[in-house]
Symmetry: C2
Subunit: 214 residues, 2 copies
């Protein structure tokens, strides 16, 4: 496959294809036409064909898509055919929720360690992980070949912590802190701003109410 740059919009849609194909696979469906997939996913068949053509197509005229094949090809594209090794920084409720989440483990995202700056939390356990002090994080990252760090810490600490992580070789940050993290070239950041999502919902509730009132 060509390693050309794919648009963010397409990449953003791939996990959803993967999710629907996973369900079809679990239900024993072996092949599906782009029009049936289109009905299921509520996007146009032409969008599906266009999206998948970015990666070489996968469909066959008159046959449709082989569900298993497409599922595993998308897994490869998403890089989840290999295991990822993660650490969580911030052992609060959210950090605990993320490090315990079965769905991630199933997709090959293995949580190896949890860190916190609060001395009262250090030594406590979350599932089978012991909360560790931030003091040794640099050597831990290197020794354990960690590739993704999850930031579930307050905004004020996030910039400093991310600098430490990057200086110690972290190449990917999944950021839940309520600010945008600037990463140098060679480091990728995916921001999850839960407040932003809740505000979008609030906008839509508000819009709906205005429509009903008018």
């Amino acid at each position: 496959m060509d390693d050309k740059e794919i648009s963010q919009a397409v990449i953003g849609r791939l996990p959803r294809y993967f999710r629907y194909l996973g369900e079809l696979k679990d239900n024993g469906v072996e092949r599906i036409s782009s029009s049936d997939l289109s009905i299921l996913m509520k996007v146009t068949a032409s969008q599906i064909r266009q999206d998948l053509n970015n990666f070489g197509g996968f469909g066959q005229q008159g046959y449709g898509y082989n569900v298993n094949f497409l599922y595993s090809e998308i897994a490869k594209i998403l890089g989840i055919d290999k295991e990822h090794r993660l650490i969580v920084i911030g052992a609060g409720n959210l950090g605990q929720a993320l490090s315990n989440y079965d769905n991630f483990r199933k997709r090959g995202f293995i949580f190896k360690g949890v860190f916190d700056a609060n001395p009262e939390l250090i030594g406590k356990t979350i599932g089978n992980l012991t909360i560790q002090s931030m003091d040794n994080i640099g050597s831990y990252i290197k020794k354990n070949n960690i590739d993704i760090a999850v930031l579930s810490i307050p905004k004020a600490a996030a910039k400093g912590v991310s600098e430490v992580l990057i200086a110690n070789g972290i190449k990917a940050i999944w950021n839940f802190a309520h600010l945008d993290i600037d990463a140098p070239p060679g480091v990728v950041v995916e921001n999850v701003h839960l407040s932003d999502s809740l505000m979008k919902l609030s906008y839509r509730v508000n819009y709906l109410k205005n429509q009903e009132d008018s």
Copy 2:
């Protein structure tokens, strides 16, 4: 302001404007030009002007934007000038994290109740909320004028629970269950698929590695 339909892309960017303006406000900044805001937010000044023009502009030639005014106008557009009353369904780690999150409260999202189907959890407390049985959820929603329900439950339960919520008058669902919820007209759903976000990050890690290897 006209209540015309605004594109999802613009709405999606509003919370980020709100966040940056809130920080400027906290730092005592009273006005900002679109070009300074553009540098800060790393988007083009023309994008900012276009986005805000959807709501009537707010800027003045040669003056820029009044930070306080723009902040409170965006709050109104987002519907966060009023209080929202939420319940959380699913008192696991994620449900606990969400119902305890200070940032939401500060924005007027008030968590009024937490519900779970697991009898072992009922009666326990999360912060100042007692976990309640799902049995009385219908009357609770009506009595307490709840407008948003947060779903932090497994995929298998999500469809049934959302139907119960909607039948009892819930108009907005913030869905963390790992499936897309279909809502009837008049009900809005905002899906937060954490696995999808993690897979996007994985794609980018993978892409980066392939670049470096080639």
